[in-house]
């Protein structure tokens, strides 16, 4: 990508819905269809987005995760990398690690993500490789996709239900409101 300033319309090329975005991060998510894309890239790169099946699609607040697969294709392990930033939380104890350790592998349903991204897939891939303990180039990471989990904002905290993780309100980027 060239380093000159670029301007794009925040409209989905497929359905025309608004794209959720974080300033300075080139990847955006569609509010109308199960798609994340980088509209600054030519051609635009894409990733599918999902919700856990049966979790409901009307939840207002969501936290997004990149999910990679590694290991043998017949029984791959899922690596959950937060697509948001939880400031000052070590990845050893972040909800991604908790979901990974629990072997959380829900049935996924293609759905709009409902959250903006604070990391690009390339950054997430590098962090997934780091978590796996190998170099990014050597990592065998497949099936990159985005999965969002419902969260609840109450009493000055943001709580993610599946991992049971809670952060003080205001320590997440982009902010959950």
């Amino acid at each position: 990508m060239s380093d000159r300033p670029r301007v794009v319309a925040r409209g989905c090329p497929d359905c025309g819905s608004l794209l959720l975005a974080t300033a300075g991060v080139s990847w955006m998510t569609c509010t109308g269809c199960p798609l994340a894309l980088d509209p600054f890239a030519v051609p635009a790169e894409r990733l599918p987005t999902f919700h856990p099946a049966g979790a409901g699609t009307d939840v207002a607040q969501r936290l997004a995760f990149y999910v990679f697969e590694s290991g043998p294709p017949e029984s791959p392990a899922w690596i959950w990398i937060p697509a948001f930033r939880a400031l000052s939380t070590s990845s050893r104890s972040d909800p991604g690690a908790v979901l990974e350790n629990r072997g959380y592998r829900p049935e996924l349903l293609a759905a709009p993500l409902g959250a903006a991204l604070a990391r690009t897939p390339a950054e997430a891939r590098a962090l997934a490789a780091l978590r796996s303990g190998v170099k990014a180039a050597e990592a065998d990471l497949r099936a990159a996709r985005l999965v969002s989990l419902a969260c609840r904002v109450s009493m000055g905290n943001v709580a993610e239900k599946v991992s049971g993780f809670t952060w003080p309100f205001g320590t997440l980027r982009p902010p959950v409101t």
């Binding site: 319309a9 794209l19 300033a23 400031l87 050893r92 962090l127």
Partner: protein, 328 residues
């Protein structure tokens, strides 16, 4: 700081010019209202945080802060409060993703840092809890012209502080930005003096505030010292004689010293008490608490100079402190 590039940006839908966009931002086209995303590589993202408090709430938060304190009733009353001023103050924001190598295995962590990018006399920006404030409300693209219509907007004048290396960590990725946080200045005139309170515009937390002190706040101390004064000078002479006799029973030389020293100490205590009561005081407060501060008080008053003189004399008599005393 990296200078913004002078590049004309335009809407891809209608071709309208995007004025005032100098960094990566999410904006609406001023001509056709289309939502747009601007990506300016290598320039820190400029964003502002919308205040959660409006003017009335800022004044109410200031009133709530002083509630229960001994401040005059007319302070912060209707009519004495000036129109609150909204300030937008810039902070350098950096989030570093660091990889940590430890016995438990590799991990990464997002380390944030926020530092004031401007110094404003009388406004302690370091007391602003910038992390919650910067994440408390949705961010907007920084548009100085739009903000200046309703607020005082400060330019960043300080360089971003260099961040200390984290031991055992490697910085994988770093994002730098400038975020303008809202601060309310609530001003109140009382007895020809101007009192200010600076509040975090997102939470209403008081960063620094001053208020006049109710005169009756010093009444208990004044009454106590008056009674001590009356007791000392109203003591019958026979009591003093008994006290001196008691001193001399203890030790003849010590008795002599105590006989001379006691009136001196009593006078010094009374002078010190008078020294505390005679100044006008104000309240100064922040989120840690409220303190009493004298107005126009010299650095050291006469009783304090006398006290310090005694201590200096004692040190001179004792001789210079040895190394162990210095260390302790």
């Amino acid at each position: 700081m990296t200078a913004a590039r002078a590049t004309a940006l335009s809407c891809p839908r209608c071709g309208g010019r995007l004025h005032g966009v100098a960094s990566s931002a999410l904006v609406d086209c001023p001509s056709c209202d289309s939502p747009l995303a601007v990506l300016v590589p290598d320039i820190p993202v400029h964003e502002s945080v919308r205040p959660s408090l409006d003017r009335e709430e800022a004044v109410a938060a200031t009133r709530a802060f002083w509630e229960g304190r001994k401040v005059p009733r007319s302070f912060l009353a209707e009519g004495s409060v000036e129109e609150p001023i909204l300030l937008y103050v810039p902070f350098h924001e950096r989030v570093r993703t660091c990889s940590l190598r430890a016995n438990e295995g590799p991990a990464f962590v997002d380390r944030p840092s926020l530092a004031p990018a401007v110094r404003i006399p009388g406004l302690p920006l370091e007391k602003l809890d910038a992390f919650p404030a910067s994440g408390a409300a949705p961010r907007e693209a920084f548009d100085a012209a739009a903000l200046q219509r309703r607020a005082l907007v400060f330019d960043p004048t300080l360089e971003a502080p260099s961040l200390a290396a984290i031991s055992g960590a490697v910085v994988v990725e770093e994002r730098a930005g400038l975020v303008w946080l809202p601060v309310w200045l609530v001003r109140c005139r009382h007895a020809r003096n101007l009192y200010e309170a600076a509040l975090d515009g997102t939470s209403g937390t008081v960063l620094q505030a001053r208020a006049p002190m109710e005169r009756t706040a010093l009444l208990p101390e004044a009454i106590f010292f008056t009674y001590v004064f009356a007791f000392v000078f109203g003591m019958p002479l026979s009591w003093w004689v008994k006290l001196v006799a008691f001193y001399f029973e203890l030790h003849w030389f010590g008795g002599l010293v105590l006989t001379v020293g006691t009136p001196g100490v009593v006078f010094w205590v009374l002078a010190f008490a008078w020294d505390r009561v005679r100044f006008r005081y104000e309240w100064t407060g922040d989120r840690l608490g409220v303190r009493r501060e004298p107005v126009n008080r010299p650095g050291r008053t006469l009783p304090e100079k006398i006290r310090d003189g005694f201590f200096a004399a004692a040190r001179w008599i004792n001789g210079p402190p040895d190394e162990t005393e210095k260390k302790s």
